[in-house]
């Protein structure tokens, strides 16, 4: 069945009331039945929940084959915990048929590809999938299609019982002996622990894995001891160098800066750019650099930003410290400046992924956003964005908060160079739709700006401000005139990943890629 972004969704996926994507806000006003977690009672006072090894913790939580284990990705590419836990479960306890439900997975988790090939891991639910894991899943080696969700879609699915977590693993930079966890104060700090919060509340069992045990009570706790079954102390939960970069530097690349300047000009031309406006930006080159130029316009008009959300990094903390933004609310931290600021700098707060972006609660932060500035691997003439699959059709990205913030914000700006190497970023049809075009308002490239025709109001604003813009088709043709028109990718029928829209409908599927031959068929 074809969905609202023109993608053919196979019927076998449309069972148990699962629908295809119908457009933005389709689920508005409907009811969701939340799952009620089943958790174990620890009525008898325990002095400590520390157990010797991960294997012991798994046994204590009744780990068996066929279970779903959850993880969060605040340790990013430095994470050791996913591999450590899966190794203990598979190699020490001999479990198989396991499903990993993670907020994201990355290159740090290459060893999991082996477990997929061996059939020990049979299900993956995640936002991001990259590296060898992306390759083996794209090659059709995972038994069930991977399920890809946005950062807001994930807590919706957990709260609604679509994902039942048997054991949640919390990678905790610090914990006390009963499992109060924080993202700071240890040796592998990550700052916010926002993605782990829903897991801890909805899982049957919760195991904290830490490399820095601190005195009780570890307060204020991101994950609370009342939800924790066991605490395991290991040598190291991650490589600090890869958890948070030293400092996210603002790009010096003139092309990035030119695009960033255009982004700021567009923002300043809209009616939402006024005292107390709200803002989120990605950490890519031009997105982050937009901060710099925006500050100039804020000074010029003598206005301040009310609040900012997101994955946070240094430049935003800097604005907070200068008093140019009122509050920063944070689901994840990307650099040490942000890690060291959360809950330390006044008005820098932590939030859960549900509070950040869940479309099925009564109003997440993204719903109040004025502006979001995002990147894209590809954007097509319907303004649909792909941030998941490479130009070869292989899984190597993550929707993350992209679809959530795009849907929530009053003005969603995509900023990307027109071509990357020989790849046309602006194209006829994206490989995979990860953010539907009805949520994307403005495209800024190094060859020009395009506004979604759905946003006549923004077109008027840009015209009034004298900002030149062109139909997106012109940008596409410009790109193809530089790099040539690409061949269509060739797919097999087998579905290797299902891309859920943030509301739980099906936005797209990723199929197994056919081996390429140089001969014309």
């Amino acid at each position: 069945m074809k969905n609202a972004v023109g993608r053919e969704i196979p019927d076998f996926l449309l069972k148990d009331g699962r629908e295809v994507y119908q457009g933005k806000n389709y689920m508005d006003g409907k009811y969701i039945q939340k799952a009620s977690p089943r958790t174990r009672r620890y009525e008898k006072p325990q002095e400590s929940k520390i157990v010797e090894t991960l294997a012991d913790a798994l046994r204590q939580c009744g780990a068996k084959s066929g279970m779903t284990f959850s993880f969060h990705h605040h340790l990013r590419d430095g994470d050791y915990v996913v591999n450590m836990v899966m190794k203990a479960a598979i190699e020490e306890l001999g479990l198989d048929e396991l499903t990993i439900a993670a907020s994201s997975l990355g290159n740090a988790h290459d060893p999991i590809a082996d477990y997929i090939e061996q059939g020990k891991v049979v299900g993956i639910q995640t936002s991001g999938i990259r590296g060898r894991m992306g390759e083996v899943v794209s090659a059709g080696k995972l038994r069930t299609p991977a399920v890809i969700r946005s950062h807001g879609g994930r807590p919706r699915a957990i709260e609604g019982g679509e994902v039942h977590i048997d054991i949640a693993f919390i990678a905790a930079p610090t914990s006390d002996c009963v499992g109060n966890c924080r993202g700071i104060g240890g040796k592998s700090n990550c700052g916010s622990m926002g993605y782990a919060m829903t897991d801890a509340k909805y899982a049957d069992h919760v195991v904290v894995v830490t490399d820095c045990l601190v005195d009780f009570p570890n307060m204020p706790a991101s994950v609370e001891a009342i939800d924790v079954d066991a605490v395991v102390v290991v040598d190291s939960i991650g490589n600090p160098k890869k958890i948070a970069s030293a400092a996210a530097r603002i790009s010096q690349n003139p092309r990035d800066l030119m695009m960033a300047e255009d982004v700021a000009r567009v923002i300043a031309a809209t009616p939402y750019f006024k005292e107390g406006f709200s803002f989120q930006t990605g950490v890519g080159g031009p997105s982050l650099a937009a901060n710099l130029f925006l500050e100039k316009y804020m000074d010029e008009r003598n206005i301040k930003m009310g609040w900012a959300i997101g994955g946070i990094c240094g430049p935003m903390v800097e604005l907070l410290k200068k008093g140019k933004v009122g509050k920063v609310i944070d689901v994840q931290d990307f650099d040490l400046d942000a890690v060291n600021s959360i809950n330390q700098t006044p008005n820098h707060f932590e939030m859960s992924a549900s509070q950040y972006a869940n479309p099925a609660n009564k109003g997440a932060f993204v719903n109040k956003l004025d502006f979001v500035v995002l990147a894209a691997l590809e954007i097509d003439t319907g303004f649909n964005v792909n941030v998941l699959t490479g130009s070869d059709g292989v899984l190597r990205g993550a929707p993350g908060g992209h679809p959530d913030t795009a849907a929530g914000a009053k003005c969603c700006i995509i900023v990307t160079p027109l071509i990357r190497g020989r790849m046309a970023t602006v194209c006829e049809h994206v490989v995979t739709v990860t953010t539907p075009g009805d949520c994307v308002d403005v495209l800024v490239t190094d060859y020009g700006i395009a506004v979604n025709p759905l946003r006549g109001d923004l077109i008027e604003c840009l015209d009034k401000a004298g900002i030149k813009h062109v139909p997106i088709e012109e940008l596409k043709e410009k790109a193809y005139s530089l790099v040539g028109r690409p061949d269509d990718l060739q797919w097999e029928d087998k579905v290797v990943a299902v891309l859920e829209a943030r509301d739980g409908t099906i936005l797209d599927v990723v199929r197994k890629i056919k081996p390429y031959t140089l001969e014309q068929e």
Partner: protein, 100 residues
């Protein structure tokens, strides 16, 4: 032109292509690797073969390792490799003639 000895042109940098030509006896043997194979493999092959034909190269083993180069780059790298293989790359290059 006749490929007289092995020659190479280009780099493995992003957006470049490295082209190596070697003598062969029985037509053109093309080995192609590309970071954009699935979308541009056939176009790259066509560009390489056209360029060789224009230069009058009938027998060669050609290895192209492409890192997302544009067509103009691929042409230039093929031309350069062929001229180097004939020791004809130092002077009197037919700009605007067979090289265009």
């Amino acid at each position: 032109m006749e490929i007289k000895k092995p020659a190479i042109a280009g780099t493995l940098e992003s957006s470049d292509a490295q082209v190596a030509v070697e003598p062969a006896e029985d037509g053109i043997e093309l080995y192609l690797e590309s970071s954009v194979m699935n979308q541009y493999g056939r176009q790259i092959k066509a560009t390489v073969l056209e360029t060789l034909e224009r230069l009058g190269v009938e027998n060669a083993r050609v290895t192209v390792v492409d890192k997302g180069a544009l067509d103009c780059t691929i042409k230039a790298r093929v031309e350069c490799a062929v001229f180097r293989s004939c020791d004809a790359s130092a002077a009197n290059i037919p700009w605007g003639g067979v090289v265009r």
